[in-house]
């Protein structure tokens, strides 16, 4: 029992080291100007445009549920007009970035790991290397850059649609006074919440792309290996996003205090 735990700890440390080296190689490649704009544009389209439905639905329904639940509690103490402020702060700094990241990890992270894993199993990555192309330049860097650029935009979109949906529900259906609710929302949602959400989007994008590409590039051979790499990419990314969110919240709350 002792040995497997030690082994697991050793494997986890090794994986962390490999992830750090992969990131360092990607940063070096970026600094040397090895990012192809064409590949970046394709990945950005794949990630951004084709994630619209999932991000919009997640954002809208999260905003709706949050609005309804908050309203039911606040209504008891006659604080109906604070409902949108709660929705706005929660969506901007926590729920928007985290839920968007989880959806992107499920949709895009899985696709990245499966694509790169299949390329590894079918020797396409070896073929790439024999053709003088570094897998980091050609495969990792465009995906990493596209995810880091797209995630803040997707997060903003999710937050915006969530707040919009909550406003429509609160004012249109639950009878909250629109003018007061709007004023409270503006008053209690500081710039620090919006900036925090965007920074989280960037960091979560980095986490998702790095872990998913790593799992794909390290995929064990065989069809089973691709399946395992895909599952692990989604699970690891999601866990890393949730753990990272906690530490980012603590850190950014301190750092962004002056902005509110």
């Amino acid at each position: 029992m002792q040995m497997p735990m030690r082994q697991r700890f050793h494997d986890a440390l090794e994986a962390l080291g490999e992830l750090a080296m992969l990131l360092a190689e990607a940063v070096r490649a970026l600094a040397r100007g090895r990012l192809s704009v064409q590949d970046l544009a394709y990945q950005f389209y794949f990630l951004g445009a084709r994630s619209q439905a999932v991000v919009l639905i997640t954002g809208a329904f999260t905003g709706l549920v949050l609005c309804a639940q908050t309203f039911f509690q606040f209504h008891k103490v006659k604080m109906d007009t604070a409902t949108l402020a709660v929705v706005s702060v929660s969506m901007s700094s926590e729920l928007g970035p985290v839920l968007t990241a989880l959806m992107v990890a499920g949709r895009v992270g899985a696709a990245m790991a499966a694509e790169l894993g299949t390329m590894r199993v079918t020797e396409q990555i070896d073929a790439l290397r024999t053709l003088g192309a570094h897998p980091v330049d050609y495969l990792l860097l465009p995906r990493l850059a596209a995810t880091v650029l797209a995630m803040p935009l997707l997060t903003a979109e999710s937050v915006g649609i969530g707040i919009g949906a909550a406003y429509a529900l609160g004012v249109g259906l639950l009878g909250i006074d629109g003018a007061y609710a709007w004023a409270n929302m503006i008053r209690y949602t500081g710039l620090n919440e919006l900036v925090m959400g965007q920074i989280k989007g960037v960091v979560f994008g980095l986490i998702i792309a790095l872990i998913s590409c790593y799992k794909g590039l390290q995929c064990p051979l065989g069809a089973e290996g691709v399946g395992r790499a895909t599952t692990e990419a989604v699970v690891w990314s999601s866990i890393a996003v949730l753990i990272g969110n906690f530490f980012l919240t603590l850190l950014l709350t301190r750092l962004l205090e002056g902005l509110s």
Binding site: T118, M119, T122, Q124, R129, T130, L131, H134
Partner: protein, 248 residues
């Protein structure tokens, strides 16, 4: 041109290659033969720097591969071509993009020049006009031919072939052998073929290296290998199993 000295490579503690030693001269066509699992493909990957050796020295085109990092190896590999066992064409790219991949990345040729050389390579492998097709639309034999076109379009100094005829019907296998022969004659490149197809060996090789139990067990001209009286070599070239290995 290619020099391997005391190459050792282990997997899970088991030495698949255990002191492999040979030299292949410039322009020579060498076939590496041996039974399945004897380490032929592993050796080929070590020669092109896709796998590191645990110990020993590999010198290719005057460069010690062990002293180079991945980016240094990329430079060496651009002077080599490799045909993979299952062709390893990029699924997401067309035939034209697959074949012109290296030329485009090098950026030394104009678009028209790349197109012309891709068309020339496709003509050479007998598949003119299929530039726009995707790999999924091709048969196994066609994929191998496209893989061959991709391996030679940049006129490499060394071409590696990993079991080029495996999985093909006898007629397709013969046409691939014929193509490799033509490529050898046309490019005058050093050729290293990993195979257990004796017909390929007879047709292409000037020298044969037989791997057995992690080492070069036999080496010589094809006629010497085919005339060998050594029981291990004999059984392999005749395709006869050792009765002691067969238990029912």
């Amino acid at each position: 041109m290619i020099e391997a000295r005391e190459i050792v490579r282990r997997f899970d503690g088991h030495a698949v290659l255990n002191g492999v030693d040979f030299r292949i001269a410039e322009g020579e066509a060498a076939a590496i033969i041996g039974r399945s699992g004897c380490g032929k493909s592993v050796l080929l990957r070590i020669l092109i720097g896709l796998l590191p050796a645990d110990s020993g020295r590999v010198v290719v085109l005057g460069q010690d591969l062990g002293a180079l990092d991945e980016r240094g190896l990329l430079e060496i590999r651009q002077q080599c071509g490799m045909l993979f066992q299952a062709a390893a064409l990029f699924d997401s790219l067309t035939v034209e993009e697959n074949i012109g991949f290296l030329l485009r990345r090098q950026g030394r040729c104009s678009r028209a020049e790349v197109d012309r050389r891709v068309a020339e390579a496709l003509d050479l492998v007998g598949l003119p006009g299929i530039q726009a097709k995707k790999p999924a639309e091709l048969s196994g034999g066609m994929r191998k031919r496209v893989g061959l076109a991709r391996a030679i379009v940049h006129r490499p100094r060394i071409v590696f072939y990993d079991e080029p005829t495996t999985g093909l019907d006898p007629v397709s296998a013969d046409s691939i052998d014929r193509l490799i022969e033509q490529v050898c004659a046309k490019l005058r490149a050093t050729t290293v073929v990993v195979t257990h197809d004796m017909r390929t060996v007879r047709r292409i090789a000037q020298r044969v290296l037989m791997l057995h139990e992690g080492r070069v067990y036999a080496s010589g001209a094809p006629r010497e290998i085919f005339a060998s009286a050594d029981p291990v070599v004999r059984r392999f070239v005749d395709g006869v199993s050792d009765p002691r290995e067969v238990t029912l």
